[in-house]
Symmetry: C2
Subunit: 199 residues, 2 copies
């Protein structure tokens, strides 16, 4: 089953479990908010799901819109945040013009791309970001040296060792600004990378 | 030269560079503040240097006092924060009674203990913490599997792989609650562990 179909079939369940911003980690909210307040211009929430982060970013004053592969999520996001723009779209083929975004949030969305699909998505993010534009990626922290697939509850996903993902970003014209990682008992390890598009 | 003498000789220089809370990382301030607000009772800032974190914790309403191995730092801390208590002391032999602290902040202080000295300091922290008491350790993040000494600007220090330090803590009666890590270009990798004394 494709990622969009897998999430589509379970979109209501996912939304009830994770669709509210209050179910996110307070450190993540602090990180995303801190990142967004340094972005001047439109932010794209790429892989927005039912729009929990889109709504959060809007709430702190960001100019934000959302894209998701799963039509059911886009519908839910629209109904939950009628004041915001959401559209169905694929990170590998974004319907956005070059340099149209000042920031891209990819929070636990690139995790569902097979490693050999990632470069295409990063190239697209690079294209839609203006030079100097900001990227924030949230993902499952792979502790070893290798990218590793695992059985995510909804669709296959990959653990990325932060250094490996940082390399991918550097290879695609991004400069990495910060890597943060968090591990807590009972939760999958988390990591985030902030980067920006080089000129 | 011992750690206290090394810092003593350079206490003015250190203080001018790092003695102000504004020179700390905003994420660290958020982490320390978040941690402290969950502690009810006295907090010990262990290895407080010139008192930048002691003052910060006091400023957010914590009941906090500081201990440092270096007399020059204790003098500086007292003059900068005359409303707070500071004393000269050694993490391996604390002049505090059992269970007297609700929280211990050890922010980049245990890093100067040789690995074979650490257990004694952890046992002391365990002793002065009440059951359930909170510990927050900041340290240089060792990326490999081994504890590694390096030439810190002032006194020898050790990189600790977070998992290794977490093991040391678990071995000494602490439960690890969270490991956070941060890496930025041009800075040594940072890590922090929050833990609590088991009953």
């Amino acid at each position: 089953m494709s990622v969009d179909a897998a999430y589509g079939a379970r979109s209501a369940e996912y939304t009830s479990l994770f669709g509210d911003i209050s179910s996110t980690h307070p450190d993540d909210r602090a990180l995303v908010a801190d990142w967004a307040t340094q972005v001047t211009g439109p932010i794209l929430d790429l892989g927005c799901g039912p729009g929990q982060w889109t709504g959060f970013l809007h709430g702190i004053g960001a100019d934000v819109s959302g894209i998701d592969l799963t039509p059911e999520f886009v519908e839910l996001a629209r109904s939950r945040h009628p004041e915001l723009e959401f559209e169905v779209g694929d990170a590998r083929r974004l319907h956005r013009s070059d340099g149209s975004a000042a920031g891209v949030l990819a929070w636990y969305s690139l995790i569902h791309l097979a490693p050999d699909e990632l470069p295409q998505a990063l190239a697209e993010i690079h294209r839609v970001l203006r030079p100097g534009g900001a990227l924030l990626v949230g993902f499952f922290d792979g502790d070893g040296d290798d990218v590793e697939e695992f059985a995510h509850a909804v669709a296959p996903a990959w653990f990325w060792p932060p250094d490996r993902l940082a390399e991918e970003l550097e290879d695609r014209g991004f400069a990495v600004d910060r890597i943060t990682r968090r591990r807590e008992p009972g939760a999958r390890p988390h990591a985030a990378i902030t980067a920006h598009r080089k000129a």
